[in-house]
Amino acid sequence: MINHIAQWVLPFAVTIVFSAGSVKGLKVFELFRRGAEKGLATVYSIFPTVVALVVAVTMLRESGAIGLIADVFSPVASFLGIPSEIIPIGLLTTVSGGGSLSLFRDVLKNDGPDSFIGQVSSVLMGATDTTFYAVSIYFGAVGIKKTRHTLLAGLAADFTSLVLSSFFVKLFL
């Protein structure tokens, strides 16, 4: 049901924006082009940041660093009632959406989507976004160098998700 509603959102948004513009007698195509050009310029300005970050994340994953850090955290995790299989997903989701998605697929395949681990990782994946990526892209786009405590607050939010995902799954499912 909800999936069906979700399918409607994008086409509806595009249709309503263009019809509203046409009804107002605007030159919608010229406006669209102008906005799209601005978007293109933004991509150009963030590309160097994206390249550096993606290479760094790929290296971090392939070097086994994520696995080692997860091992260090696993005693703390078991104390907080977090299944240790979730830690790598929680760590990767802060740096790379694609990386955590492939780990998530592995969990769904191996443990099944309705197992405890499958449910907790589903909640975690739905409740978090790539913190490092967002912080570097958003500030990179406007040339801000001093990001102050943004990263700290973002990671605090991620940590909250990590702890609460298993808690809420235990409570409701």
């Binding site: 959102v9 605007l26 906005g35 086994g64 989507p113």
Partner: protein, 198 residues
């Protein structure tokens, strides 16, 4: 920030590769990492262009103003100093709405537009304003109401109830968003108090 994080990531990867004996994998990662970036970028270019265009049309047709009126009461609570900055609030409203609907591809371009507008009213263009810190933190914590991607994947792998995780997801997101906003706000508050004393 990136001046510290980037070298830290490289050094950590190198040390871990030495410890785990995965130098050949690491070497492959260095050689092929750029390609992965281009793939990501190809997706981003299309989304940035398309949603940049949509934003421009929506703005001129007055739709963003309508949307902003609906979302702004809440936003004005989080960003009290933007009360009078209608133009900036409109972009933030668009980004927040796209996020809530789970439209990640649309949310990023709209969010970057909002950042540009926040930068236009920023006193020190090198340093993030309080509003920027808050806004980026909101974007790092997903503000999704419907976890579409997760549900689709769960269905694909044979879940009996793909949407069963919706309530726990919503509560987790909401709590982490609150923590993020609190830490961000607290940091700004402490900084301001420290600034007053000096």
């Amino acid at each position: 920030m990136m001046n510290i994080i980037l070298p830290a990531m490289f050094v950590l990867s190198f040390i871990c590769a030495v410890l785990t004996g995965r130098m050949s994998e690491l070497s492959y990662a260095v050689a092929s990492g750029g390609t992965a970036a281009v793939e990501l970028l190809l997706n981003l270019i299309a989304a940035m262009c398309f949603w940049g265009g949509i934003m421009e049309v929506a703005e001129h047709s007055g739709l963003t103003a309508v949307l902003s009126k609906i979302v702004s009461p809440l936003l004005k609570l989080i960003f009290p100093r933007l009360r009078k900055e209608k133009y900036t609030l409109e972009a933030i409203s668009m980004n927040v709405t796209a996020n809530m609907l789970g439209l990640g591809n649309a949310a990023t371009p709209l969010g970057l537009e909002a950042m540009k507008r926040l930068q236009d009213i920023n006193a020190d263009t090198d340093r993030a304003s309080d509003e920027m810190v808050l806004f980026v933190v909101m974007n790092t914590a997903a503000m999704r109401i419907i976890p579409t991607t997760v549900a689709t994947l769960r269905a694909q792998y044979g879940s009996a109830e793909p949407m069963s995780v919706m309530l726990p997801t919503l509560l987790t997101t909401a709590s982490s968003l609150c923590v993020g906003i609190t830490v961000a706000g607290l940091g700004c508050f402490l900084k301001r108090r420290a600034g007053d004393k000096l």
